[in-house]
Symmetry: D3
Subunit: 242 residues, 6 copies
């Protein structure tokens, strides 16, 4: 089974970190590759970064499909371009934000997502609303920027820990989801420290991708996920009618 | 990895069918057992059957935990007693209804659940509402009773096929979920026939159970899923205050 | 008019307290009986207690129907097994949680439920969502366990009073609902003390049961509340098709 | 116990019909009066009629309070001016639309309201949304105008019967609520004929009014239902600050 | 283009203030008139004031229509009688509360309304829910009564400023809407002071009224906004059937 | 006042049609320009076209801001990239889909959007949900592709007319919104023909853009619409911490 991860941003070190987590969790027989979107922004903070990342990301995912991927993972917690990727591709496509939230929904009736900067909070809240989980989830910002996570992991863990304390006390969180691919190394430690399930979206996406592949199902090819039509097909609409 | 399936109803033949599907899909190294709730009703149609099935089901799940299960699956599409099982047990607990619906939500923006009798429709609609998927899902009854599925699989497949046609035309369904454990053998054939993803909840539950085990997470032990207290602990509440 | 109350838990003293409130409020000509579910848990704290209480509770309600009850009341604020009871029985079935919340909804645009332990909060929040009242209601825990209410009523009243103060200040509560059958004796005093309507679910259930009986209506016998089928009828589904 | 009914429209014959139903159902010791709003429109069809009816209705309700009423009923299924009446008065105020819908919600998980003209449908749908029952209710118009109900009861019953058939087949209705005070005489016959609970809002309002009186609770006096301030008090706001 | 503003309350000085704002913003060629509802309450605080204001307000709006108005504005932030006015009139009708909230929804993903007294908070929350904006809006009371705004503008500005600070810190407000026609003069200053968009509903209503007129569209004449029928038409319903 | 329209797709003829409508409606003193996104797809059908259109669209909007635009309009009914544009720019940004729906919401309590192909239906439904209008709106596809609208306007008008008939009969539509920039020429004729308000999103966006400019407000610069940070600023996050 071949799983293709794409990091929509241009940070090769984050891609490496994500790939490391993914391979550590992969089942025997699962082959995982990861591509960095060098054409994208350095990190994805907010809707402009997200919008600029998508075309380069889709191109790399298309290439992965041509190379025979059995499932695709978008390694940004914003699930950037998820619907477009599903419409473009035939195999299952999983966003790490969606995977993390849905994994938590099997374990807890309420959970809190701890993300990086507050500019991401409304984006994640809207995603959770679309996934139907907004009523049982809270989103908190650690105010650690994406690149700061790598530069100062100790500080990152401390800040995230503080937010987990608040989540338990103020949000009635029963579980926590780490809201950035760059936090993937921290899940196990934080879970032990706080005594509740801490879900890493990268890990969840890898195992759910394996699961969907094993079920032998692909992405729907109709409705929202109908394949796009090319320029030639569109031109015919007009020509036929003249 | 040991996964314990419980069939909340008393039909040993349905348990065998479910176990057969589950073992066919299990990853190497996954050991699957299934228990039949001989104390439960012959099939689960409606809320009374569901309520009467739960105590016997919980007792068998508890035994499976003592025997070292790493994850638990409730093999009734109504997800009978799911919250109680999560509160009682430490490892992940997955209902096949929840698993089927969440699997479909990774593949399609709208889907239809095809179940057995119309008495189950409001129960499944309510579950989908709780999972946050009611806005994107429709529930249809094939009017094949649970035991009729086994007795006349050809008729079952024909009736379910008719509902899938209606789901595509009237519900704008992009994918279908089979709404009864007794339909587990039909998914692949129906998917080929109708050209859209058809998800079997039993299969989805097995792969998601493996996924959650691999993530090393358990069920939350606080909030809705806090462990129950025994009679002795409750009596102390009173005695302490006299 | 005969109203049958069932206490789903095994505490005979709570049954006596509930019966005392109920008879104190009954209209002339209303005969009220109460049964204790000796087969149930000592108190109902959380979903496991609830699940284990239902079969014994349903058996006693069925007996009350055979004895000629004109309406049934489930005397646990969690409304344990309410849907199953409605499906099983022909006469109106009222849960004290539902009755208390709906009574408050005639009097106030926002109200707060003050219950016992925090493990009950998510259960009551979910019930309020199902009743359509979640947007206008808040649930608070007094952290007095059910049996502690009886053992130390003074402390119970003090703790509940503190929560009512917070409800007025923080929840903009216009009315309060007492969230446990064991609080039935406190409503009038708390209402005077805090100057807002304080609704006791037991009292509300008794008067609403009398109201529904007087209307001459029963529980719907179709859809979610269609009567259960017995094993013989289920077996025929299969046999007919072989 | 004294219950004061107000008919917001100017039709004395409808007031008489409502009073007849109400007295037929009143418990021993309940004294019921009904006032007609001669200053209001001949019938209430739509939002303009509703708006013009409220001041005259409130004046009559205030008079009933001064005369010692223990509860108030607004006998228009639109629940015209219900919030204003609750803010103005101290005792419980019940709208027949709210009472009918909440009575049905104790008996059925889905119900259909059959009203007069289609101009009332969006008004009732909005009320049901506010009561939290929109998800489980459908509203249908019989296209019998209010005054036509009285003039041709046979035709009215036939038209309403047709809508009940459609409600069972198309809305999955488990119960029906009659959506106009002028239909109060038809409930029992339609219930027998269609074999499901048919709730009359007038009857439900009378019994719920008795129930709330017996509970000894009044309308909340804060938040949405805080009492209005008079012109003198308002003038002081300004004067104090000059 | 002629725009007719009606102030539903009896305060001529507030009408003058509103007219002053409106004329200051009107496009060349827009003629604006404003009527005071001398039959209404001195100010509109709560649902009783609102209900009593509507008949006099509708009469003045009808007169404005006869005088050739191309659009109508209701100058009370509660949008008192908005649906009835739309049903009564043919040209667009805009409430200043609706206009302010919808203007903010073009500029910000979350906003806070700062109104006068807390009795208005639940009314505005309900309006925002009906406009579909409740999920992205918070309502705060400055506790400045309507008439106090005029009497002590400095104090008013200070109190509103305090609430804007809280809105930014606690509500994550990205913009603010001033929740009373009497605040119309304060928008620009508060916007500069707090560095976020501050929308005045009066100003927004004037510009949106000009916009809808320019589109050449009127209010829908069917469904909720179907024109009311007169007494003669209603009487015919009955007579025809005898 | 300068309003900058961007057509996110590459069809210059559609840009010309939109500009023609816009200039025909512009107030005296409003200067309108329109840019075509030559880097975008030929038309926007579905999420992939939308995603590929955004970077080129944002670049053109940024240029328009530098050229002194006072407001921006995105001339695709999908409101492609609307949030990103708001985050990138300082002046108001309006999508024609949002403008059309919000204009209709001032005129009707229920409306139907008639769009091009069914692949756009779920996108528009999701947008309406985000705008809070999903409960009062229905979306229908005429199955006329974008380029076919231009090639065969007669056929287009006939197909849209058929859907308007269905909208009135089946959706209880009180008004209609034309769901594609390419339909901008048809609004007036369809409104006369069907006797209900027919709103063109292009026209609505132009007038609302003028309205917001006149109010002197800009897009919020915090929360979801906080300006993006450049690569240099992001790098500093990391460097500062090493």
């Amino acid at each position: 089974m071949r799983i293709a991860i794409v990091n929509p941003n241009a940070s090769a070190s984050m891609t490496a970190m994500v790939l490391n987590t993914a391979r550590g969790l992969a089942a025997p027989g699962t082959h995982i590759e990861a591509a960095t979107n060098e054409d994208g922004p350095l990190s994805i903070e907010g809707t402009v970064d997200g919008a600029l990342a998508v075309p380069g990301m889709l191109a790399r995912m298309k290439r992965a499909q041509e190379a025979g991927a059995h499932a695709h993972i978008i390694a940004c917690f914003d699930d950037t371009g998820l619907d477009a990727a599903r419409s473009l591709l035939e195999k299952p496509v999983i966003g790490i934000g969606e995977a993390g939230a849905k994994a938590a929904s099997f374990l807890a009736s309420r959970f809190t997502v701890v993300t990086t900067l507050s500019c991401s909070v409304p984006i994640l809240e809207e995603n959770l609303r679309r996934y139907g989980l907004a009523d049982r989830a809270t989103v908190r910002a650690s105010e650690m920027a994406v690149l700061a996570l790598e530069a100062d992991p100790g500080q990152a863990e401390a800040r995230i820990s503080d937010e987990i304390e608040k989540a338990i006390a103020q949000d009635r969180a029963e579980a926590v989801v780490l809201g950035c691919a760059g936090m993937t190394a921290l899940a196990a430690g934080l879970s032990r420290r706080h005594g509740l399930p801490v879900v890493d979206g990268v890990a969840a996406a890898v195992k759910f991708a394996e699961a969907l592949c094993a079920l032998g199902v692909g992405t729907a090819r109709r409705g929202l996920y109908a394949p796009p039509r090319d320029a030639a097909a569109k031109r015919k609409d007009g020509e036929e009618r003249r």
